[in-house]
Symmetry: C2
Subunit: 174 residues, 2 copies
Amino acid sequence: MADVEAKERKILIAVDEGEESMYALSWAVKNVVSENSNDTLILLYAKPPRTVYTALDGTGMRSDRREGYLFSSDIIQTMEKYSKEVADCVIEKAKRICKDLHNVKVEARVENGDARDVICEMAEKLGADVLVLGTHGYGLIKRAFLGSVSTHCAQNVKCPVLIVKRPKSTAGNK
Amino acid sequence: MADVEAKERKILIAVDEGEESMYALSWAVKNVVSENSNDTLILLYAKPPRTVYTALDGTGMRSDRREGYLFSSDIIQTMEKYSKEVADCVIEKAKRICKDLHNVKVEARVENGDARDVICEMAEKLGADVLVLGTHGYGLIKRAFLGSVSTHCAQNVKCPVLIVKRPKSTAGNK
């Protein structure tokens, strides 16, 4: 940092199951986070919202319509449990990357919702000083259909956004 | 920085006439550039390419067609001179923002071409470790027509891209 005064910065880092977000986190830890300042690192994981399935007919078994499935509470519970385990696993992995940061506060947040909405809302709510995102680097076609979390956030979040793309050589080892 | 070893980083910062890019530069100087490391700051200005006008008819005066104008070499020279002056002025302003960075090498480059192409090409050519961009924060409609330099670069540049949006309160003082 140019001025090493003890200003407090909130660095919000979106993490998910992908290696891209872990690479972005590592990059930020090395290049943005300062051991000398009062930085707080906030690891944010957006847990995909539970899809609400409604039975449109009595049997709930119309295989040609997604809405036709009726899930028992057992299945829903299992799915919820699995989803929570994924969230825990991602946060744990992210925290391991931050383990050498001794003077930096590391917090973790798991929020329910679409990643794009969750990230933009939390950046605003927490008053983040910078948002760090990994990117999947989809090609033109895939991006057009799927949209891009990083593009959406860069356009909608008010604070500076750091988009870290994983180099091809590293991505090849996936 | 988490590890203050003397690794060399090339920080490429695109600057233009807008206050947004100067804000981005100031933000990067405070938050990314490290006085303790071997950082090199490269200020990049893309000088818009000279539009080539060709006379399609003898008079060169068909007012309904842009290509119909024939500029005298005097006018072209004046335009070139003006364009160079703008470039010098932008680089000088950018250098003033970096004046307190004593241990950081600051270089300036002026390249001809469309900003999007120039920035992507130079990031690649120089092997930048991070690219910093300001953004105009155009609304949805304007963005759709004009495209966005930051979005284009974030999608096409291989290195991490930091997009800095000027806060509304500061933008109001324009």
